[in-house]
């Protein structure tokens, strides 16, 4: 095909390429002494030759809707009109909201705002539409996203939110989120050490519900007080896709990078599981329970959303 569906800019005006071709054809014919009987017919014919339609971006939630909460540094839903995060400039003390550029975190705007300083996340906005935003108003506990003016990125050059165990950085939702009968919870995480003590990924409002990623590659889920340890087989320093799923009322499955690592019996809902990201429930959180990881994305569905499909979408992007 001729690529006639593309556009070019002439004198500041965006012109469909089929119009450019039609005009060029007319000019050539007239230069040879002929005429074009109908320019409108010519343009219509050329347009039909290659009716390229504009590409509409679709995020993960456009394919798998109904999330209970959704945090990411990429646009997850093309109807979401809010910002990605709010960031504090460590030099000025002031914060600003950062939005999207090309459906991902606007890295240029963030680095301009930080102007050579470190940047810390004060809010990570929920893209699900349920307003379950995460906040951290203590400067000492805000996770980092900019280091000396440069956005922190993972091995695939995607921005990440960094939680350091030794500093004790974490975030919290105003109202906890519970998962009931069937659910899917996915997290895109790059662990930075395999020696942390009790690294909490997610914690509910009490000690009874949590997910831990801690020393010696151990994963741990705790549901209504019952603990299940498993070998998580995490890749330290690399991106891991973690999924926790219940597809019926009697079992919980945990996956690392699409491979099942736990399949255990349970019969209760995961009450208030999303309350804190990166710390336990204590107030203030226990110092030996902080997370050592870079987090790219965290999404929960309180239904039977297709785990494999979601993981494919995540892997395609990251």
């Amino acid at each position: 095909m001729l690529g006639l569906g593309l556009s070019i800019t002439i004198g500041g005006v965006i012109t469909p390429y089929y119009v450019v071709v039609a005009n060029a054809f007319r000019d050539r014919v007239e230069a040879d002494g002929g005429t074009v009987e109908s320019m409108s017919c010519l343009k219509k014919d050329l347009k039909v030759l290659n009716p390229v339609k504009p590409t509409v971006y679709k995020g993960l939630l456009n394919y798998y809707s109904g999330a209970a909460a959704a945090y990411s540094l990429r646009l997850l839903d093309n109807t979401y009109t809010g910002d990605v995060i709010s960031v504090r400039n460590a030099s000025t003390g002031q914060s600003t909201d950062i939005g999207f550029a090309n459906n991902e975190l606007d890295v240029a705007a963030l680095e301009t705002f930080c102007n050579g300083a470190d940047g810390y996340v004060t809010a990570w906005y929920d893209q699900s539409g349920n307003n379950k935003h995460m906040f951290q108003s203590d400067a000492a506990s805000q996770p980092k996203i900019v280091s000396s003016g440069t956005v922190i990125k993972d091995g695939n050059n995607k921005p990440v939110v960094e939680f350091e165990e030794t500093v004790g950085q974490w975030m919290e939702v105003e109202t906890s989120i519970g998962l009931t009968v069937n659910f899917l919870l996915t997290a895109v995480v790059t662990p930075t050490t395999n020696t942390n003590t009790w690294g909490v990924l997610l914690n509910g409002a009490t000690a009874d519900n949590r997910i831990r990623l801690y020393q010696n590659n151990t994963g741990q889920v705790r549901l209504s007080g019952t603990i299940y340890n498993y070998v998580a087989s995490l890749s330290i320093g690399s991106l891991n896709v973690l999924s926790f799923q219940r597809t019926n009322t009697t079992s919980l499955e945990a996956y690392t990078n699409g491979v099942q690592k736990l399949n255990t019996t349970l019969s209760s809902a995961w009450s208030q599981i999303i309350n804190r990201l990166g710390a336990n429930h204590a107030d203030p959180p226990a110092a030996d329970h902080f997370l050592s990881a870079k987090v790219s994305e965290l999404i929960a569905w309180d239904d039977t959303t297709d785990r494999a499909g979601v993981e494919t979408n995540i892997n395609d992007f990251y």
Binding site: G93, S95, S137, A139, I227, N280, D283, P284
Partner: protein
């Protein structure tokens, strides 16, 4: 992350205010430097030490031991 300890909670609150004012927090998205830890004995308190601001009146420790945090099943 080092901490300052004191038996006088108001001293730690004063340190918190000192850092918040010096760092020019906006009071909306960032409202303070850090939360104050209370020891289970009810007598001791602690706060994270800011790397830039030191005070001689408070006792600095490298970390808080496990005795600071209520035990829980792991």
């Amino acid at each position: 992350m080092a901490y300052y300890k004191s038996t006088d909670k108001s001293e730690l609150e004063a340190y918190n205010n000192l850092v918040a004012e010096a760092e020019n927090y906006d009071g909306v998205k960032t409202v303070r430097w850090a939360s104050i830890y209370s020891h289970p004995n009810g007598l001791d308190f602690a706060i994270k030490k800011h790397p830039t601001y030191s005070v001689t009146e408070l006792t600095e420790v490298e970390k808080l031991g496990s005795e600071w945090f209520p035990s829980e099943d792991i």
